[in-house]
Symmetry: C2
Subunit: 529 residues, 2 copies
């Protein structure tokens, strides 16, 4: 579509796309599933502007700052499109000092002038879905609830048994680096090298540490003994007994946190979803505590639990079919939204808000779901399911049609009146916008959209105060294949019975503000004249 050679290039900007049709339906279902879980845990949402003052974003993203989209200087303030949802959230917290704690979610688009790789799901405009808990609480309780929320979300998406949450702790990593003798000025570089262990073998990471980053070979060996470890509670217990780590303040504090977190995760019944992965480092500087990343089948080379990653990076004998767009991903370890091959990632960041406010410090912990990637995987899984081939793009319950013989006038007013009655009853209904539509055209319109029921009007039936209701798609020979006659006066009741919804309740009226619909609420206003 970018190859047209006209004076007018009809396309969307590079790295962006239009969402439409079944993709839109699937995406909205994913958003709804995720939002439901957030609400189940008492979260609220906020909505920040799509652009921020340029200086708000400055100095937050390191060398990735070059990927920020600026608005043109057309006079007035200099602004940039938001790069993520975390910095605007921290800015909002700093601006609203009366708010000392909040659980907020935010699903919105963010913008990065990256080299797009559409087939890999890397776009310049893409959705992030962030959940964060801000406030001072007893240790690890919000952290544990975030892990629990993450598990509920992947369960509601149908990923049960197909994902793993890798967990580590910044203080443990710092402690390990100190214990192994990494010079302070090399800490970030070594941490970044360790973070590549999910897709490079240890030998390659060790080479990078020693040859590229000038680390002493013995120090690298000592680091390797720790960071290639992964496992569950037994690994944690082993590290708690490690005398070198216990003697280090940072490692000791991190391990105590992890011990408490594991206890809570056990109570929340999600410990089996966790892999304590000591190679997980996360790129962003602002993490201060527990860090995590969610990987799914095929999102990273698989190794058995506890095994060192020496063999990782080799090609798997048979690449998994539904992981084609996440395998082979380039290094995005500096990407705060998703790690390499991960579908969600986050951690604790206790100092970010104070970068804005200076005065107050609000501890935060959060997670960002890579919803575009979750969408791609969900779509592929649905595509593999034959019954999902017929995902409907609209939700119409009833198609109102008419037919007749010679002299048939189309029964337009009658079709309109029936549609009106159905709408009034909260039924989703359509009819042909032709004065005299042909019956096959009307059936086709209903079939194309997978409409489950048809109301069929005819002169004779109407004269007798009746019409036909027909369930679409019934097999040949089914007793109701040709529909059943109903009384016109029972129209709404007959339809509602079949579509399984209570009479007189439309979606919009069923819930409102405080359980009161907006309609009711507005009516209660005392009249001012």
């Amino acid at each position: 579509m970018g190859k047209e050679k006209s004076s007018f290039q009809l396309k969307v900007p590079k790295g962006t796309k239009d969402w439409e049709g079944k993709d839109m339906v699937i995406r909205d279902k994913i958003f709804a599933s995720i939002t439901d879980v957030f609400k189940r845990h008492g979260a609220v949402t906020i909505d920040t502007p799509v652009f921020e003052l340029k200086e708000i974003l400055s100095g937050k993203y390191g060398e990735d700052s070059k990927l920020i989209y600026d608005l043109a200087d057309q006079g007035g303030e200099l602004c940039s499109l938001r790069y993520d949802l975390t910095v605007p959230f921290a800015r909002w917290l700093a601006m609203n000092s009366s708010i000392q704690n909040i659980k907020r979610y935010h699903i919105a688009k963010v913008y990065r002038r990256d080299q797009p790789a559409m087939t890999k799901g890397r776009m310049r405009e893409f959705y992030q879905c962030d959940f964060d808990i801000a406030g001072t609480y007893d240790p690890m309780l919000p952290d544990a609830e975030i892990i629990r929320i993450t598990c509920e979300i992947f369960q509601s998406l149908g990923w049960e048994g197909r994902y793993t949450i890798k967990i580590n702790h910044r203080k443990i990593l710092d402690g390990i680096f100190q214990v192994c003798g990494v010079p302070t000025d090399k800490l970030r570089a070594i941490s970044s090298a360790v973070d590549k262990l999910d897709k490079s073998p240890w030998a390659e990471v060790r080479r990078e540490m020693t040859e590229d980053k000038g680390l002493d070979a013995e120090v690298a060996e000592r680091i390797g003994e720790y960071v290639t470890l992964k496992g569950g509670k037994e690994l944690l217990e082993r590290l708690l007994k490690d005398e070198k780590l216990s003697a280090n303040e940072s490692a000791k504090a991190g391990l105590a946190d992890m011990d408490l977190l594991f206890t809570y995760l056990q109570t929340f019944d999600v410990l089996d979803k966790i892999s304590f992965d000591m190679s997980l480092a996360r790129g962003l500087d602002y993490y201060t505590g527990v860090i995590y990343e969610v990987v799914t089948e095929g999102s990273a080379p698989q190794t058995s639990e506890g095994q060192a990653l020496q063999s990782a990076g080799k090609k798997e004998s048979k690449p998994k079919k539904h992981a084609s767009n996440i395998d082979g991903e380039e290094d995005r370890s500096n990407d705060p939204s998703v790690g390499v091959g991960s579908v969600a990632a986050g951690g604790r960041y206790d100092n970010l808000v104070s970068m804005f406010s200076g005065k107050q410090q609000i501890p935060c912990v959060g997670i960002s779901f890579g919803v575009d990637r979750i969408f791609s995987i969900t779509k592929q899984r649905l595509a593999a399911d034959a019954s999902a081939a017929a995902i409907r793009t609209n939700e119409v319950d009833v198609y109102v049609m008419a037919f007749g013989g010679k002299g048939f006038d189309g029964l337009l007013p009658q079709r309109m009146a029936v549609a009106k009655r159905l709408w009034d009853a909260g039924v989703k209904a359509e009819f042909s916008w032709k004065v005299k539509p042909k019956l096959p055209q009307q059936f086709k319109a209903a079939e194309v959209n997978g409409v489950p029921f048809a109301i069929i009007l005819g002169d004779e039936e109407l004269a007798a105060g009746k019409c036909k209701i027909k369930e679409m798609g019934l097999a040949e020979g089914h007793p109701e294949k040709d529909g059943v006659l109903i009384e016109m006066e029972n129209l709404e009741a007959e339809v509602l019975k079949r579509i399984g919804r209570p009479a007189g309740v439309t979606d919009s009226l069923a819930e409102g503000v405080n359980g009161m619909s907006l309609e009711e609420a507005a009516k209660t206003e005392p009249k001012t004249s």
Copy 2:
């Protein structure tokens, strides 16, 4: 907030705002109400990028093009933030030539470098909510359905009896101008002057026509005889008998359309919401047929039906309290989203798509709801309603708390386990993130958020396999004021019974793709290994 004098200015860009708290809840309810109506009529949604190629927007907005936000030239394509949702929709239709008809809605932010007037609801970043029908159908049927949809939306918002849909037709206006003798080169200028009749008296509009725009005084007088008319079906019938108009091709075609539309609106039972207002002209050039604008109490000076507007523009004796932010609005008649004081506006535009595709022409008719303005009015109406003072910002059903005497350890694992069971049952639940919370703190947390029920754990009750469930806010002396004991094993059932939801059904699982939840859908995938 823009007045802080620090080295770092902590604010959002001019003309933008953060949405949060109760505002966010009300806004989301409005969006949900509107979306439900769209879906009831079989609409689908599409989502286009927030920025378009600059050339896509060029030449679409006349002199308002100066209000378009451009992105900085950082190499690559030149882009601009979208100015409305109509042009991106037309661009999308032109790009997807296989789509010959669609009913689509789109709720999203648009951007205008206007002088912001926050108290009047004029922002630089604001929401539009558009519904459009594209495709070739029999005359006036989609047009009638859009009016019907508009009425359903305002009914669902609780505005019944408080709004009027002003309707006119471009071809009738053109015909009137021709019949009255307006020179072709003055047509747009005169049309624009007529559009001001909703807030200026005829004498002022006539002065503008003759003095500012050089129209012959007699021609102006003749125009005045028509454009000051408003009314219902009787006005239409009067015009149908007007010999001068009947002799004009354009007026004749427009009046025939209106006649058909009125018939359809009668069938849809919404004719009483309509005012045929011959002063309505709408600023945008691209309208080709019926045009409409929705006004609500106080959104424009009120005149009785059919009365000429000579007296309009005078101050009303007592301004309506809840209309303070829409009275006194500046001229925004060129604003494609909302007219002067209107809360929704639109019309038929049959030629816009061909501006992009050149080849094909897809007739369109649509409406744009000024949701920010609808929000302001709804909020004021809710504020006038005492019971709405307690709008909840989250939706938590149950707060899980614990209390005990000396030696009380906080029962944290027990509170967590209860919360977990409730979440598993789809119940929205919270508990204190303190190891040993005080009972008053827990009650306060529940009360602040208006949580309807508390589960109260105590050592003694737990030892007997029981806990207490308490409905919050019961009056002193109510027999269940202190809660009732329930069996721990019946926890979920007892809670679900009280919050009125069926057991085991969470929101996210209740509906999914094709009525199948994403969870079920994903499980049906044939295993690929």
